[in-house]
Symmetry: C2
Subunit: 300 residues, 2 copies
């Protein structure tokens, strides 16, 4: 078994636990009582769809660095995954990326309808903040810090703003720096929240918070770059979506702009940067090191 | 000057203050730095559009009953108005109510485009929770209570769920009890949050919180009923939108089901119920009494 395969086993195990917890949440009294059936079904369709649960994984793993209570980390991980899934539902809408299939299944607006997809996304986004606010596993101060950070990273100067830049990009060619800004906001912001969240629930210092946020940004850039490489080199099976789709839609990527070799060199640089940040955590960061290698190498 | 006219003056004054504060928020460093221009413009279009600011008014007035700091009440009022405005932007979308005009101006998806409208709504919703989380005017415990209550009232068992039921209703005739449930969720939930929020920022007892939440529900039912009466009797000028529009779309209202006289009797009952709840607050509740009369009488 290669180290990548070994890591995939770990990631899959975590994904199973996260998905089981999500199933509990979406089958809980809180959600079943009062939620229209069709809306709850649409949210479940959007959330329980076999995702890799990379963001929850990063919350759980970074929380371990600070011996944070498992339950506290899981509560944040679940809320973050709700945000990620809402963003996918809205991004798939006809007015946005107009995708019919995600992870081999119809997207929410295809399986239900557009109005239901908009509302399922709104519902997940609204729920995420409530889940953190009500997470008794986390003391009040970090709970508030988490909500503030999540609002900023998922909001108009973060993920939502990144999607806006991505939509605008379809009308004109982006420059190098504009692509980086868009991707940092669209993908990087939630990954950097994931890593920083572990430090927050672990009651870590501001230095640790900043370092892990930085790690999340580095992993976000690497993730996006390897995604673009996969898109360019065209291994559709590894992506679960049509290869070259992004280029087909006229979306400029850094790989399209600078070439495959440049991208591979850049991925190597990013892996070194991540290793440097993880040195502070010694052996405790073994799994996060494997995660870094996994993100960097999945496109090779 | 009639008492209704006097109250309208008070409401308009509050609306001016709220709108000025919203302008500050949407011109603040926090939002200008990092938010794509077009997205910020779309959010401003959706928020600074001459609304009556009834929900902020109710937060501010109920907070006065408990001598809560003005700044704390305003911070919540602004967040709540962001939620209300996001819901209007999404409700107006072609896949939802498909409205082109709101308060005499093009809706956000008409003035911009659908994708921008979806993202502007998402951005406002995300921002609202961050504004409360970062409201230093409010101690940590009530801040968390506010976020939890807002998430529940604005979420899938509240406002978002109500809009879902409203969408479903276009396909079949709703029964009496189903209309009530839909309207309680769609309109009542945010108004009940508005009133309860004043009690929360004022550090009031659970009894007060429950009573004011109840007041908000009563005002919500009255508001909806007078809205439906206006729709039925057709004073388009008073509504700022096309009269009989809801009936024209085949939406069943309680007025359509039970008639104008029944609705007026019911409005009277609701005003008595509100007066009973406000008795606990004596002269301090004079403005809230005027608000009740205003809501009840605007359709006569």
């Amino acid at each position: 078994m290669t180290s990548t395969e070994a890591f995939e086993t770990v990631l899959n195990e975590t994904a199973k636990t996260v998905t089981a917890t999500l199933k509990d949440v979406f089958g809980s009294h809180r959600l079943i009582v009062g939620t229209p059936h069709r809306l709850l079904d649409a949210m479940r369709h959007g959330v329980l769809n076999g995702g890799k649960r990379l963001r929850p994984f990063l919350v759980l793993e970074t929380a371990k660095l600070f011996s944070a209570p498992q339950q506290a980390a899981m509560d944040v991980a679940i809320a973050l995954e709700c945000i990620h899934c809402y963003s996918l539902i809205h991004d798939d809408l006809p007015a946005m990326d107009d995708d019919s299939v995600r992870r081999g299944k119809p997207t929410v607006h295809k399986a239900f309808d557009e109005a239901t997809a908009v509302l399922a996304g709104d519902g997940l986004l609204t729920l995420a903040f409530g889940l953190i606010a009500e997470a008794e596993s986390i003391p009040p101060a970090p709970r508030i810090a988490l909500i503030s950070a999540l609002s900023r990273r998922a909001g108009v100067a973060g993920m939502v703003g990144g999607q806006m830049l991505d939509m605008n990009a379809q009308d004109h060619d982006l420059k190098d720096i504009e692509i980086t800004r868009m991707q940092t906001m669209k993908t990087g912001a939630l990954l950097s929240f994931a890593c920083e969240a572990g430090a927050i629930v672990g009651g870590a210092t501001v230095d640790h918070r900043n370092r892990l946020r930085h790690l999340g940004e580095v992993l976000g850039r690497a993730y996006q770059l390897s995604d673009d490489l996969l898109d360019e080199t065209g291994d559709a099976g590894a992506m679960g979506k049509a290869a070259r789709k992004d280029r087909g839609q006229g979306k400029k990527t850094m790989v399209a702009l600078h070439g495959v070799d440049w991208a591979k060199d850049r991925l190597y640089d990013l892996s070194v940067e991540a290793e440097e940040l993880l040195k502070h955590y010694g052996d405790q960061a073994t799994t996060l090191r494997a995660a870094t290698r996994y993100i960097v190498s999945r496109s090779h």
